[in-house]
Each structure stands twice: as structure tokens, then as C-alpha cells.
Amino acid sequence: MRIRYALVATALPLLSLVAFAQPKRAAKEPEDRGSPSKADKPEARPEAAPNSSSGASDDLGGPPPKTAPSSEASKLSPLNPEGNEFADGGVQPPPVEYDKLLGDIAALRSRVSAVTTTLFASKVRVVIETRGSDARVASFSVTLDDGVVFTAPDRFVAEDERTVYEHSVAPGHHVLGVDVERFDTRNKEYRTWQSSRFSLVIPESKLVDAHLIIQDSSDMAKDFPDDQDGQYDLRVRLRARVEK
């Protein structure tokens, strides 16, 4: 019995020595790729600000920041944008009187429009027709005397005749204006802007039909990129006649 205890007593220190002499087990690999582990985030430190206090002027910026203690919050990918690259949403409201002023002007204009309908028997009608299969209108407005009377909406097309304005006007001399910007569908780089003014005489108590044909037969977008030779051919034609 004593011998048995003596054997156990000698064996225990030996076993403990054997146990300590085992090679150390490698650190456990993360099991799930999807779990928020450090390995998923290749670079832990956020970048230095573009204009760091070091005053470094080159694009490498200042010295790298000191290693912060590891935390989840600091594990952003270096390719992620920084907060100051987003709009801060600080949109200023318009001046207080903006809405009131716009309301006042719109009401006054509508009044004047209604009164002139009664006072003037003469009328002008503006009809638009656009021609040119490869030309598209980018912006288009029609002016009468001092003000715009029609502004084209987006993607304005008038391949068929389109009445854009018809209203009573004072008899006599008026200036009809057309401002048009066009681009070629074959190559949007080739754009034109044209402003034309036409003097019209509106007889008393008559309706004048002003028919505007806006034609574009340009081949610049097609020819110039090929052989460095092209031409713009833009025309605005107006035919005015008194409706009987």
C-alpha cells in the first residue's frame, strides 16, 4: 500500500512536467466569416484628416495617428467615405418674404392678363414647329416684348405644330423673341444656342398667327468627329399672317 502511494507521488510531478512541455496550441481561428471579427476589417485605423495640424502640404497628409486601443467603432474600412464628404443638410430656408412676394407677383400678373383680355381686341398666337431628326431641344423660351411668355418643359418636342401662346395684346409694334438651345442626339457634345428677335405689327382687332419653324440640319456631330469637317445649319423662320 505504501509502495502504491509512493509511485503516485513520484508520477504526479512527472506528469505535470510532461503537461507543461506540450507545444502551445495555436490561437483559435474565427469560425464564422460573417461574424464581426477583427479579420474582417483589414485596416483598423481611420485615416488622418486631409488638413492635419502637422501642416504637411502633400497628399500623404500628416504623420499617422497613434494606434488607438482596439474597439469596434474604430474598425472602419479605409475605403469608406468620411463624414465630411456628405452634405450636412444645412439648407437655408428662403427669405421670409419669398412666398408672399411670389404670391403677390403671380396674382398681379393674372389680374393684368385678365384685364388685357377685356381691353385689347387684337391677339397674337405663337405656333412652334421643330424640324431635324437628330436635333433635340435642351431649353426653349418665347418672349414677347419684355417678358417670357412660354418656357418649354423638359424633353420639349413640337414635330407637329404646337400652340405655345395665344393672348390679347395692344395693337401696334411688338417684338417676338425665341431663345433655343439644341444638341445633337448622335453626340451631345455638339450644342448650339440661338437667340432671334422679330419685330411684328399687330393690326387692330385682328388675330396674328406667328408660325415659327425651328430647323436644324447640322451634320457637325456626325462629320466632325470622323474627318474634322462639319457644319452647323440652324434656321429660325417666322411666318406671320392675319387670321381671317
Binding site: 452634405a87 439648407v91 412676394l101 404670391g103 407677383i105 384685364v115 388685357t116 381691353l119 400652340t163 395692344a170
Partner: protein
């Protein structure tokens, strides 16, 4: 707030603001990347101007005209009838549909503000006329009179068609306006017994106003009451999800996004009532789900959600880029490469072009393809260094800056905007600029004001003509003494155009001088500054429209004289206001370019650091190779080079032949006859 949440926010209103103008309504308050709390704090710090609440239609002035015309027997004498109203309305609706809104408003005011109209006010046609007038005024930016007319329609039963259309119109106007709470006040009378489509509109507006006032709890409650039969169901559910995500309640946020994104979870009627806007919001919800999953490191989920964004979506480049980012972070470099390649195959200009470039190079870096990575990073530096410099330079040139941002906003080619830089640089700049939705609002305000001012100039001319007509009925409008296009305003505008052109030429000369100091250029710049000061002085010295004084009173000439004077005063006020509104617009355009400068600077730094890493990577790979050689292990490239077969051409063979000869091999029919 984390970057993913910022992207959800900015994705909802920033990058697709133009497409979602009507969907998400007043987007500006939502573009608060710093989060609701900071936005609320900054709002509190600024003295908030008090909105003017008025429902005045200004109809009394028109009624005074009608009375004066009647006195002079100039008013319409033909009696009004339902049929006549119907015919007139048909013409007016046609005008409205073809964009002739100003004309339609004039016609409607003439009808509605006439004593003859009073008996027909409550008829279906009469209510239609009032609705069209209110709607047209509201769409033209004249909110106060619009509210006056539309609110008058809310006295009838909610089942009435004009009641419902008035509510829809008021909500649309509110979402466009900067003071939506005023319209919400007008809609207080809409009861809970109203149809779902109407209460849904009002609840959605309530939620948006609450968000604007930094009350997310109230907003959530209101959004929860938006029925599936409302056209805003998707928007309300999506925005509820955004609020949940902002509070870091990702689970709830995800569940809400899923309701929109997953057709199985979406109520059946929601897409029918939501129209095309619904599908745009669905794409955003899918992106939002991807970002939430990415934020929680659930990379595989994120990939699945991004994959759900359909190929015809405007958000596809965004989804592909973010998929690549997710895969990169998950260390699935093949997956990242696939997404990048797919994005490149789209051949679409997108706002992620620069980031894609860098990510592409970093994937090469991660897969130890150092020469390729170095080549890409070098190309990035060559391409985007000048772009960043131009962005920086443009911030000091208001005209060029505005031209660029306008070109981007309108979808025009930035190369034709006359920026004075090479076409490639202008296009690269145009592709990268991420225009904030606030800029669109500021630009719209300025456009509305310009339009009204232009119309006012014409109205002043009409008032003068009308006064002369009353004084001498046979008088005709004389020919202008000024040559065409030679007014003072025309001249000043031409001067400003020339100055803008000079600036462009100087920018080109600057680019050509490659950063060297040229004395002539400096002198020219100083001269240009002096010219700019003179141009500003010339604009300031433009004479205000003259006021023709006349006797005022209740008769027609008196009313015309009063309105002429009022028109002049309004014009002068509008001129002053225009300067303020334009300054706001320019500040936002500048902010856009400053943000681009920050982003490109970060990416350029990242590219330079990446190049350092490619050198270190190459060095390390050589070290490993040398180490292997020292242990007698030949690298694969050397083993391959020992294989003589790789140096043989298609028409060559070993000599002497060392292969096997097969006696029964068929060699062809060379000697057959």
C-alpha cells in the same frame, strides 16, 4: 452616425433626389448626414424666420377691376352657363397640359373672380375651376393664393372628387414648399372618416413635418397610420425604417425595409396605389437592407440584398460598388472582382467611378498582384489629380461653378459647359459631383423668381399700354426707339458673359502654364478683377423700372395706376430678394465642389499609400522567393521557364524526335491517287 446610415440617408434623398423629387417630397431637411439630433441642434442655434401664414387669394383686387370694367361697360356681358364653363375648362386643361400655365391662370382668374361666377361656385364645374386655379398657382410657386383657393374646396364631403384632388394638391405643394406645416394646418379639417388615400396623404405629410421638426417619435406614429391604399405607403414605411436605423434599432429597420423590398411582404395594393415611384423606393429599400447588413458585418446577407436591385434601376452602379466593398471586407476578393467587372461592363458614368478605381487596385493588392495594382493606382493619380485641382480652382469662380453644377443637375454634357478645362477632366468632374438635393431646391426657387420677374416686366408693359388705350382708344403701340437687344440689361448681361469667357481663357492659360508663375497672366488676372468690379457696379446702376404716376381711385384708370405702382415696387423687391436667393444657390454649389475636393483628396492619399504598399509587397514577394531559392525550392515561374515546350511555335517540333512512333498511325492520304 455610421457611414452606412449616412449612405441610407443620402441615398434616400441625395443621390436620387431628382428622381424622387415628388416621391420623397421636401428632401432638403432629410439630407442631414449628421443625424437628427445635430440637425435639430443647429436649427435651434439659428434664428428661425417666422413663416407668413396667409390664405389671401388676392381676389379682391380682381373683383375691383371687374366692378370698374362693368362701370365702363367693358365687362363681359354674355351670361355664364354650365356649358360655357365646361367649354372654357376644356381649353384651360389643354393649356395646362401643354405647359401654358400662366395663360391658364389668367383665364381662370378672369372666370373665378367675376360676379357672374358666384351662382356656379358650388357646381361641379365651378369647383373644378377653383381647383385648377389653385393647383396651377401652387405648381407655379404662388403658395399663398393657391392655399386660399384649394382650402375653400375642403368644406364639402370627403367623397367629392374636388375635395380629394384639393387634398392631394395641397400635400404635393406642401412637400415642394419650405413651409409644409402651413399646408398641414389647412388640412386639419380632414377627418378620420375620409377615404384611406386621403388620410394617408395627410398622415405622410404629418410625418414629414414631424421629422423636419426633429420629432422622430411623432413621425413614426404618423407614418404607421399611412394605409396601403395611400400613394405614400412605400415612402412612409421606408422613412420609418430610416428612423429606426438612425436609432441603431437595426432589426426593426430591417423589418420595415423588408416590407417594401420583399414583394411577398408588401401589401398587394401598395404597388398599385404607389405607381412608378413605388419601385424607386423599393430599390432604395433594398440598398438600405444591404447597408444595414454591411453595418452589422453580415456580408453574405448584404450581397444578397444588393443583388436584388434590378438591372434597370438607376441605383445599380451603387449596388454593384457596395457589393464589391462588402466582398472586399469579407476577404472574398474573387467576389469583389466579379462585382467590379460587372460594374465596368455597364459602361455607365456614375458617381462611384473614382472609388471603384481605388477598390479595384486594392483588390489586386490584396491578391498580391502588385504590378497590376501599381498600374491602376498610377493611372488613378494621373486621371484624378488634375480633376481635384480643377475642383479646387472652380470654387473661386462663381460662374463656372454654377455652370458645372447646372450641367450635372440637368444631365447636360459638362464638357460643353465652357469650364476652360480639358473635355476629359470636365466629364470626370461632372461624373463625380454628387449634387445635394438642397441645391435643386435653391435652383428651383431662383428659376421661379426669374420667371415671375420676367412675367412682371411684361405685365408692366401691358399696364402702360392699357392706360394709354383708355386715354386714347385709337392709339397703337409705337415702335421701340431702342435697337433690338440693346437695352441696358442686355448690355450688362453681355458684359457678364464676356467676363465669364475671359475667366475661362485664363483658366486654360493657367492649365497650359503647368503651375509656373507667368507675369503676364498675373497682370491679366488683376485686370480681370478690376473689370469684374466695374461690371458689378454697372449692374447695380441699372435704373429700376420707372413708375408712371397717375391718379389713383376705384375707376379703371385709377386701378391700373395703382397696380402699375405696385408692380414697380414688387419688381424692385424681387431684385433684392434675387440676390439673396442666388447667394444661397452659389453657397450650395460651392459646398458640392468642396465635398468633392475632400473625397478626391482622401482617395488620392489612399492611392499614394497604396503605391507604397505595392512596393513593399513586391519587396516581400522577392524576399520569399530568395528564401525559397536558398532552400532549394524553385518558384513556379522558373519551373515553368524550364519547360521547353512553352517556347515551341505551333509549326515547330523537337529534333531529334523523342516521342513514340505508332506503326499503325494514320498519317493522311498524301500518296493516294
Amino acid at each position: 452616425m455610421t457611414v452606412a446610415v449616412r449612405r441610407i440617408r443620402s441615398g434616400s434623398v441625395g443621390l436620387v433626389a431628382w428622381a424622387l423629387g415628388a416621391v420623397l417630397g421636401f428632401a432638403a431637411p432629410l439630407v442631414r448626414a449628421q443625424g437628427a439630433s445635430s440637425a435639430a441642434a443647429s436649427d435651434a442655434a439659428l434664428p428661425k424666420p417666422v413663416a407668413v401664414d396667409s390664405l389671401d387669394t388676392r381676389g379682391a383686387s380682381m373683383r375691383a377691376y371687374q366692378a370698374a370694367l362693368d362701370k365702363q361697360r367693358l365687362a363681359a356681358s354674355a351670361p355664364l352657363s354650365i356649358q360655357r364653363l365646361r367649354d372654357d375648362l376644356s381649353d384651360i386643361e389643354e393649356k395646362l397640359s401643354s405647359g401654358r400655365r400662366d395663360e391658364a391662370i389668367g383665364d381662370l382668374v378672369y372666370i373665378v373672380e367675376s360676379p357672374r361666377f358666384d351662382p356656379f361656385k358650388t357646381s361641379d364645374e365651378g369647383r373644378a375651376a377653383v381647383y385648377w386655379l389653385g393647383d396651377a398657382l401652387g405648381r407655379g410657386g404662388a403658395y399663398q393664393p393657391a392655399r386660399g383657393y384649394l382650402s375653400s374646396l375642403l368644406a364639402s364631403a370627403p367623397t367629392d372628387i374636388w375635395y380629394r384632388r384639393a387634398v392631394h394638391s395641397l400635400v404635393d405643394i406642401a412637400l415642394e414648399s419650405d413651409e409644409p406645416q402651413l399646408m398641414l394646418g389647412d388640412l386639419k379639417g380632414v377627418g378620420a372618416d375620409a377615404p384611406d388615400e386621403i388620410t394617408g396623404d395627410v398622415q405622410y405629410l404629418t410625418g414629414r413635418v414631424a421629422e423636419r421638426e426633429a420629432k422622430p417619435d411623432d413621425a413614426l406614429q404618423a407614418y404607421a397610420r399611412v394605409s396601403e391604399k395611400s400613394r405614400f405607403w412605400a415612402q412612409a414605411t421606408y422613412l420609418s425604417g430610416v428612423i429606426a436605423v438612425e436609432r441603431k434599432d437595426y432589426k426593426k429597420g430591417e423589418a420595415l425595409f423588408c416590407k417594401v423590398a420583399d414583394p411577398k411582404q408588401t401589401p398587394k395594393k401598395a404597388p398599385l396605389f404607389g405607381g412608378t415611384d413605388f419601385f424607386q423606393v423599393r430599390d432604395l429599400a433594398r440598398l438600405g437592407l444591404g447597408r444595414v447588413a454591411h453595418e452589422q458585418y453580415r456580408f453574405d446577407d448584404a450581397r444578397y440584398y444588393y443583388y436584388l436591385v434590378p438591372h434597370d434601376s438607376d441605383n445599380l452602379p451603387e449596388a454593384l460598388y457596395e457589393t464589391a466593398t462588402t466582398r472586399y471586407e469579407a476577404k472574398d476578393y474573387d467576389g469583389a472582382r466579379q462585382s467590379i467587372d460587372e460594374l465596368k461592363r455597364l459602361k455607365l458614368d456614375n458617381a462611384y467611378e473614382d472609388e471603384t478605381y481605388i477598390l479595384d487596385a486594392y483588390i489586386d493588392l490584396a491578391t498580391c498582384r502588385f504590378p497590376q495594382a501599381d498600374g491602376k493606382l498610377n493611372a488613378f493619380l494621373r486621371r484624378y489629380d488634375p480633376v481635384r485641382d480643377v475642383a479646387r480652382r472652380l470654387t473661386s469662380d462663381d460662374v463656372a461653378m454654377k455652370k458645372l453644377v447646372d450641367a450635372v443637375r440637368s444631365g447636360a454634357d459638362p464638357a460643353s459647359a465652357g469650364l476652360g478645362v480639358s473635355e476629359d477632366t470636365a466629364r470626370a468632374l461632372g461624373a463625380l459631383v454628387r449634387v445635394d438635393s438642397g441645391y435643386g431646391r435653391a435652383a428651383r426657387r431662383l428659376a421661379e423668381l426669374d420667371h415671375q420677374q420676367s412675367g412682371l416686366r411684361r405685365a408692366m408693359g401691358d399696364l402702360d399700354q392699357a392706360t394709354e388705350r383708355l386715354a386714347s382708344p385709337k392709339a397703337v403701340r409705337p415702335q421701340s426707339t431702342q435697337a433690338l437687344g440693346q437695352t441696358d440689361l442686355d448690355k450688362v448681361e453681355r458684359i457678364e458673359g464676356q467676363i465669364a469667357e475671359l475667366k475661362r481663357l485664363l483658366r486654360e492659360a493657367d492649365s497650359a502654364s503647368a503651375g509656373k508663375q507667368v507675369a503676364d497672366l498675373d497682370a491679366l488676372k488683376k485686370e480681370l478683377e478690376a473689370l469684374q468690379i466695374r461690371a458689378r457696379a454697372a449692374r447695380a446702376a441699372l435704373p429700376p423700372p420707372s413708375t408712371k404716376q397717375g391718379p389713383k381711385g376705384d375707376d379703371l384708370p385709377g386701378l391700373l395706376a395703382t397696380d402699375r405702382e405696385r408692380a414697380t415696387a414688387l419688381y424692385n423687391d424681387a431684385q433684392k430678394l434675387r440676390a439673396e436667393v442666388e447667394a444661397q444657390e452659389l453657397a450650395l454649389a460651392k459646398d458640392t465642389l468642396v465635398r468633392l475636393d475632400r473625397r478626391l483628396s482622401r482617395l488620392l492619399r489612399r492611392a499614394r499609400l497604396g503605391r507604397i504598399e505595392t512596393v513593399l509587397g513586391k519587396k516581400r514577394s522577392l524576399e520569399i522567393e530568395v528564401e525559397a531559392l536558398s532552400q532549394g525550392l524553385l518558384p513556379q515561374t522558373i519551373v515553368d521557364s524550364l519547360d521547353a515546350a512553352r517556347y515551341l511555335g505551333d509549326d515547330e517540333e523537337y529534333w531529334p524526335f523523342e516521342g513514340e512512333d505508332w506503326s499503325d498511325e494514320y498519317v493522311g492520304g498524301e500518296n493516294l491517287k
